[in-house]
């Protein structure tokens, strides 16, 4: 692997004495799809929240493109090139689909509060640029037809892709996807699968949390297995799947369902 784009080193956090994430390290390179799997409660989303700065880690560092961003507040991490989607949909339900993606463009917009208040021509030029970019992104995720629909009226699978479009609007170098295919049917999952592969190919490092093992095994370059907040195994999908420790963790009472799916 060349120089890693995202370098998470020895990161950990405890809630009330429970080590939700403990001593986790991983590196992701540009164009790579890196998946994090593990039984429910293994600390996958907590790990995401540590990497994106929602939680402040009690130990460890996060480096992006060589710069230490461990102490950077979450809204500024986007500026350094980090965008994410959410496990439980975080959609702006009262806005249209295209407006949702336009919000994602916020960082590239060059207006000020005063210009916005006065309605200067520059604001409307900016709106047109932002809108064109948002429409192109909707096209890319296959939602161009639904651009003007209120987000609240979109089906679940479309909302999952809308979140990806909104995250891409920030022109990220690293894209963190928290269960993008959860609750999607086979056709929707296939679409998301292709989308993730295309995004990675365009030069974005993708970090993926996903329960759909078929999807993970198919598109991941490397997989990290978490169990009870600690790394259990890391490596290419095939090696991880055959790792006895991983099988044991999954066949333990909590994870048997996922193991069935992994081998099914």
């Amino acid at each position: 692997m060349s120089t890693p784009l995202l370098d998470v080193s020895g990161i950990g956090i405890a809630f009330g004495g429970v080590r939700a994430v403990d001593e986790v390290s991983f590196k992701v390179a540009t164009g790579e799809v890196f998946s994090i799997i593990g039984p429910n409660g293994a600390g996958k989303t907590t790990l995401f929240n540590l990497v994106t700065g929602i939680y402040r880690p009690s130990r460890g560092t996060v480096r992006l493109d060589g710069a230490d961003i461990t102490a950077v507040p979450p809204h500024l991490r986007v500026r350094s090139g980090m965008a994410r989607t959410f496990q439980n949909l975080q959609i702006f339900f009262r806005m249209t689909a295209v407006e949702n993606v336009m919000v994602g463009c916020a960082l590239s917009e060059r207006t000020s509060f005063l210009a916005d208040l006065l309605g200067l021509p520059s604001v409307f030029r900016q709106n047109r640029v932002t809108r064109a970019k948002a429409l192109a992104l909707l096209e890319r995720v296959g939602l161009a037809d639904l651009a003007e629909a209120p987000a609240g009226a979109l089906p679940y699978g479309a909302l999952k892709r809308l979140e990806i479009a909104r995250a891409l609007a920030a022109d990220p170098k690293v894209l963190l996807l928290d269960e993008p295919a959860a609750g999607c049917n086979a056709v929707e999952t296939e679409a998301i699968d292709n989308l993730i592969a295309a995004v990675a190919k365009s030069g974005v490092a993708v970090v993926l949390i996903e329960h759909d093992m078929k999807l993970v095994m198919k598109i991941s370059d490397r997989v990290l297995v978490l169990a009870q907040g600690r790394p259990l195994a890391e490596g290419p999908p095939r090696a991880v799947r055959e790792n006895p420790q991983v099988i044991a963790a999954y066949l333990g009472d909590i994870g048997s369902r996922e193991a069935d799916r992994a081998h099914g």
Binding site: R79, A115, D116
Partner: protein, 314 residues
């Protein structure tokens, strides 16, 4: 038709049309004064429309900012010999500054907790206006010097009608500008999901604070106009019931709708005048009417009617 309903400037044109028509049909200067009060309270409520309707942050102490603006116009000329128009501007700046100082700590709070904190702020302003008798005249209030606009003494109901109408038009234009801008998108986004807005790189606290300060400036300008038009101001202007009325105007008209806010203000300013025939039952009838409106137009006047019309159009 749908395009007209959705156009950004439709509410502004509708408002200007109504403003032009009212003086033609108003039978007496009393009616013109009531109309001017509608424009002034609309202006105050418009600030809340930005704060509550766009950004989803409640303020139950907004009459406090109205009071700051009103007393700036009263105290400045009377105690410091300043020009009333300058005092209107100073009041707006002071109000914005106070909002910035108060908003930084309390806008961290959400929902009910923010409501109670803003309520506390309003109570404090009312208390100061009540008790600083030397400066404010205490509960009896104080008289306000006449306003001169570039050599023109503003007197009479019709002149105040046009001044307040002009101020509201400017306020409405600015509110519509914000709605259609990146700032407006950011405010509406954080209304729905703060975590997603943060994820998009939006500084949620800074945006909330900007909306709060802007809302305070709107209220202060309205308060200054109110004081100058009435020629008299009492601490009642900053009272809790006034704060609640402002919130009610925004909700009755339709959260987030500029034209709706004006309808909401008209509802709560005009109806009490129209209901004086009910004498001691006036307040009860007003309360009943508010309940009926909210039951049949649950999203407020404008959004509910718009939904009805769009449903029936092909």
């Amino acid at each position: 038709m749908k395009a007209i309903l959705r156009s950004r400037l439709t509410p502004l044109l509708a408002l200007a049309l109504v403003m032009a028509l009212v003086p033609m049909i108003a039978p007496t200067s009393f009616h013109l004064r009531v109309a001017a009060l509608v424009w002034i309270f609309s202006l105050a409520a418009l600030g809340l429309t930005i704060l509550m309707g766009y950004a989803g942050q409640v303020s139950l102490g907004h009459a406090g900012f109205l009071g700051i603006g009103a007393y700036a116009v009263a105290i400045g000329p009377a105690r410091l010999g300043l020009d009333p128009l300058l005092c209107l501007l100073l009041g707006a700046v002071l109000s914005g500054l106070v909002a910035w100082l108060v908003g930084r700590p309390i806008l961290r709070l959400k929902g009910y907790y923010l409501a109670i904190a803003t309520l506390g702020f309003g109570v404090i302003v009312a208390l100061i206006l009540h008790s600083e008798t030397e400066l404010t005249g205490g509960p009896d209030g104080m008289s306000v010097a006449r306003v001169t606009l570039f050599g023109w003494r503003v007197t009479g109901a019709l002149n105040w009608y046009w001044v307040s109408a002009g101020a509201l038009l400017v306020g409405a234009l600015l509110a519509l500008n914000i709605a259609a801008s990146p700032t407006g998108r950011a405010l509406r986004a954080l209304h729905d999901s703060e975590v997603a807005a943060t994820g998009a790189g939006i500084d949620v606290s800074a945006k909330k604070l900007a909306a709060f300060v802007l809302a305070a400036v709107y209220a202060a300008v309205a308060g200054g106009l109110l004081a100058a038009m009435n020629g008299l101001i009492t601490p009642e202007a900053a009272s809790f019931s006034h704060s609640v009325e402002l919130v009610a105007m925004v909700i009755i008209g339709g959260l987030g709708s500029v034209f709706g806010t004006v309808l909401g203000a008209a509802f709560l300013v005009v109806l009490p005048q129209a209901l004086t025939a009910f004498q001691e039952y006036e307040q009860a009838v007003l309360g009943l009417l508010i309940m009926v409106f909210m039951i049949f137009l649950p999203q407020g006047i404008v959004p509910s009617l718009r939904a009805l019309i769009e449903e029936r159009l092909p």
